[in-house]
Every structure is written in C-alpha cells, then in structure tokens.
Symmetry: C2
Subunit: 347 residues, 2 copies
C-alpha cells in the first residue's frame, strides 16, 4: 500500500504545533517575488496591485517558489495593502517606493471608508486560495495579513516612513482616533485572514513589519490589543498563527502573548535567546540574516546550521530568513539552502 | 567674590564621569541642523560638505542651538564622511539621499586612497573647534566621528542602504579585505577625533549609526575590535568617550565594552534596562523617542520625566533623544524640553 502524504504529515504544520517533524521545515518570507526570473517574466506589463487581484497570477506566482525550491509551505502572493484596496481605499503600490495612499488619515471622518470586507471584494483572491490548495496537495498554504499598526502606519504617513513620525504623533496626540483607526484595521485584517482560511489556507501569518519602531511600552499600550483582536478572531479556525516583525527583540514576548502560536524572529536575536524571551509554550520561526545567502555556500551552510541548532531550544522551529528574501538574491543559493536544511540531521 | 563657571563644573562632563550634577544635563543629537530656521538661512547657497569645511559656518551652526536652547553641550557641526572628504575620497552629500560615494569599495587596491589625515586636510575644522571652545566658555564641545562599520557601509554600498547587503556580503566573503578596510577607517576616525580633542573638544562621540543592523556575533567578530581601536586611541586624552548606535538593544553591553565611558541608547530600551545590560561602571545617554517632541507638551514632559527617572539607575545620565532631531521638529518644543529637564528635581 502506498501512503499518500497529507497535510497532517506536513513538517511545517508539525513544527508550528510544537511537534518534532522528520526534517526541519523551511520556507522564505517573499519567496514568491522579485528574486525569481519567472516572477519578473509573468509580472511584465501588469502592476503589482493588479496582479494581486488576478486569480491566475496569484496562483502561478505563489506556486513558482514551491516548484523551484521544494519549500515546506507556500505563502499566498499578495501585499499587505490588498485588503484596503479591496474595499476601495485610494492607494497604489509605486515601484521602488511601496504603498502610497492618496489621502493620508488625519480625522475621524476619514475612517468611514474602512468598511467591512464583503466576499465579492476579494473573490479573485479567495478563488486563488481554493485553486492553490488543490494544486499544492500536501504542501500547506499560509494566508497572511498586515497587522493593524503597520497598516495604520501606511495610512497615516501616506507611504513608507523611516521614522513613523506622523503615525506616532497621531498615537500620542489623539489616542481616541488612533484606537478607532486600529480597531478598523483589526476588523479588516481579521476578515481577510478568515476568508483565506475558510478558502483553504492551513496557517496564517500576521506581519507587523514596522512594530520594531516602537518601545515595548508603546507597543503594549497602542498596538498589542489590536493585534490580539486579529489573532483571537481566527482562534476558532484551528490553524497555526504566526506573528512576525523586524527589529522586535524587545517585543518578542509581547508579540507572542498577543495570541501567536509561532513567533517570527529576525536575525538580531539568536533563536535560543528568543525562546527565553518568548517562553516555552510557543514555536519560533526564523532567522538567518537574508544577506548570508550572498556569502559563499559553506559560510551560508555553517550559519544555517547555527540557526537550526539554536532552534532546538524551541518547542517547534520553522526555518526561515530573518526578513524577506532580498530582490538581488540568487535563487540557486536559496535552493542550496533548502537542500541543506532538509538534509540537516534532526536530533 | 563672583564664581565664574568653568568646564570642570559642567553638568554634562560630571554626568559623563558618573558624578551627580546639580541638574540633569541635556543636549540633542542633530541639535544643529535642519530643524532650525537660522540654520536653513545660513546654509542657503552652500552645499553641506562645503559648509563643513568653512570655519565661520561650522562655528555659527554649532553655536545656534546653544544660544537658542541653553543645552549643556555643543556638538561640532559636521558629517561623518567629512574626514574621508578631507583626504580626497570622491564623495558627495546629496540632499534627500545622504552620502554618495563615486567608486564603491570592492578591492584591496582601492584602500590606498585612505591615507592618514594630515593637519592641513582639516585645518578649517580644527580652527573652528578652537574658535568654538573660546566662544563656548563653560559649555563643553563634543567632538565626533563615524565608527568604522558605519563609514565602511557608506563606502561599500556607495550610499545609504536599508539592508547593508553589499557590506555584509564583503564582510562574510572576504574577511581579509573587510578587516583591512575597517582598520583604515579606525585609523582615520582616530586621527579625526584626536585632532578635535587637541583643538579643545572636551568629549567625543563615536557614532555607529548602522551597527544595529548586525547580530551580536557579527558585531563582535567584524566590528567591535575596530571600534575599540578608535576608543582606545583617545584614552590618553582623558575626555569622556560616548558611543552610540540606533537599534542596538542587543549590542549595548558590547558597545560599552569596546571602550566607551558613556553608552548612548535609543528609545527602544528603557534606560534602567539598558543599565542592566551595559553594567554599572558606565554612564548612559538618551533616550526620548524623537517623535515624542511632536506630542502635546504635557505628554512630552511626562515621557521626559520617565526617561530621567529610569536614568537614575545609571552611574551618570546625559539626557538626549534616542536618535537625531527630526527635520520637522518645532524648535520651541525642544526649548520647552530643555527647560523641563533642567527644572526637574534631582534626587
């Protein structure tokens, strides 16, 4: 009798649940995207946002790194501003810049545009998820959304910001508007994640890309309650919830405590130290410096081995980079990295 | 008999030495610069780099915030690439971008251009320091330099970088060239600091702006020895040595251990926690979030009080922002902040 692998056997889901899979599972943030020539080819002539709303493109782009690398999970190709675009917010993704919002948020009246997501708004996306789940078979699909703080930062700044000055100014000066804005973002992120899981995603990742700009005290006062709302909103769906931000060494415990099953860690904190901060009851994800894949193969492998060894301190460990794949990354280096992680002897 | 205040009475120098001054001393990183209308006026028609080599402008720009705010220290107006420009490196400071290097460093042969600084190279600068010390009287002048890693990052990337990819690639792939480059940067930073102190500066700050991009292990292997060289090189001059970088929560102990007397801390780590990491034998500097000065005055004052209270855990505390003054900052808010810090009851 031939045993057909099922999602339950997935090394990725096992590690997320704190079980010990036969090999260390690995996927990469931004594995689908600019580092792949096949991605650049398919994107030619289509804007980023349009491609996120075209079922065929989402499916193909999501599958590309799975075919190429044999990673242990797919992550649904999208952008964190997609749910906002889906409800009609006037924004665009400008190449070389990032999301740009036409009318930055300054007043309570502007919050009206942030209505609930209706199924029709995101039908091309949920269709893509359903198609992907069929095509992926025993490889799980990770759904994702931007966390309330990061979404709000784009909306308040009008685009990417290094200092998040306007965002923090609003947060400090008008906490009522701030919390109303974040509550709306939490509702939208929750609806977006729920739709993805109901369409077949096996896990979710909540990206709080910019949370590392905050002190722990500010994070806990102004941000954590809203991230917790999002994570709690999908608790009944029984899929692992991954929560990640960059430069969040001071926030790791709190981000886990917001309701994550798996805490993503960037390269600044070794995973064994991260486990000490997060606590023993959660799995971790990470955390090879994304620039290490530009180093000679032996150097990269030695660093990957250190990550795997440090990850043994955790209840479960999903190997990843400590941030997204850099656009200049050589896909062959990532292929070698996947092979190395898969071949590394488990304890 | 009237007692004339001398440098020895300086609250800033006392706090740096771990003594207890009568009030908490305060200055601001980038206190001289774009947030001041009088700065924008004097800079009109002169490039950033030209202004750094004009004695009269350096003196005037350095004095502007001292006159306006009554801060407890002046910091010599310059840019971290100035010593490189002084020895003839082909670089420019592009408005809105930052330092741009004509020929990014890729090979050992290119290191030849990084010759030692001769007194004539920086005569306009040392002249400015001497003039400033006379004008400042009992207010100390802080000299400064960019740390070897941050200087090298500009030289390898060719300009500012978010991911420091080329820098780390060189570091990981060609450690011999890397260490040779950093050794040259350390020599130049040492010479630049020494010249400033010999011309009359009462303290120095070594800025490792980008060190927070590194894990602790990478910092200790590739960077710390060279920063330590710089800090050791001015040890005999008997001036306090401040060492600062952004996002360096994981590195604080190591940066102190590199030979600092005062460790600068950004806003992500409360000062009492920073003291636990750094150890009891050093003073700290920081660490109000620079965006807090955009909040209502009472909010700003409450946060400043928290910083002062947390700073009591340290042997000595110099109040500062956790990063440079943002260009959009209202100078009146900074004036109110100085008054608040000066009026805050000391224990």
């Amino acid at each position: 009798m031939v045993s057909i692998p099922t999602l339950t056997d997935s090394a990725f889901l096992q590690a997320c649940r704190g079980e010990r899979p036969a090999h260390t599972p690995v996927w990469f943030m931004r594995q689908a995207g600019r580092s792949l020539p096949e991605y650049l080819a398919i994107r030619e002539g289509t804007t980023m946002l349009d491609s996120c709303f075209r079922t065929d493109m989402v499916v193909e782009i999501t599958m590309q790194p799975v075919r190429r690398y044999g990673v242990d999970a797919a992550i649904f190709f999208s952008d964190i501003v997609v749910p906002l675009k889906a409800i009609g917010v006037d924004l665009d993704i400008v190449p070389g810049t990032g999301p740009v919002v036409a009318e930055p948020i300054r007043s309570q009246a502007q919050l009206e545009q942030f209505r609930d997501i209706e199924p029709d708004d995101i039908a091309p996306i949920t269709d893509a998820v359903t198609a992907l789940v069929g095509e992926l078979g025993s490889t799980p699909l990770i759904g994702f959304a931007g966390a309330p703080f990061t979404l709000a930062s784009y909306l308040v700044e009008g685009g990417p910001s290094r200092d998040h000055r306007l965002t923090k100014q609003l947060m400090y000066s008008d906490p009522e508007l701030w919390h109303a804005l974040l509550a709306r973002m939490a509702a939208i992120a929750s609806q977006f994640l729920r739709a993805q899981v109901e369409a077949g995603a096996s896990a979710i990742q909540l990206f709080d890309s910019w949370a590392g700009a905050l002190s722990l005290a500010d994070y806990e006062t102004y941000v954590k309650p809203h991230s917790a709302t999002v994570l709690a909103s999908v608790a009944d769906l029984d899929v692992p919830r991954i929560h990640f931000g960059v430069g969040t060494g001071e926030l790791l415990h709190s981000m886990g405590d917001a309701g994550a099953d798996v805490v993503g860690v960037d390269w600044r904190v070794p995973l064994d130290e991260a486990v000490r901060r997060i606590g023993p009851d959660k799995a971790v994800q990470g955390n090879l410096d994304p620039t290490v894949v530009f180093a000679p193969t032996e150097f990269m492998q030695a660093r990957a081995a250190e990550v795997i060894e440090a990850g043994r301190a955790a209840k479960g460990h999903v190997f990843n980079l400590g941030h997204g794949v850099l656009p200049a990354t050589d896909p062959d280096a990532l292929a070698r990295l996947v092979d190395f992680v898969h071949g590394y002897e488990t304890a």
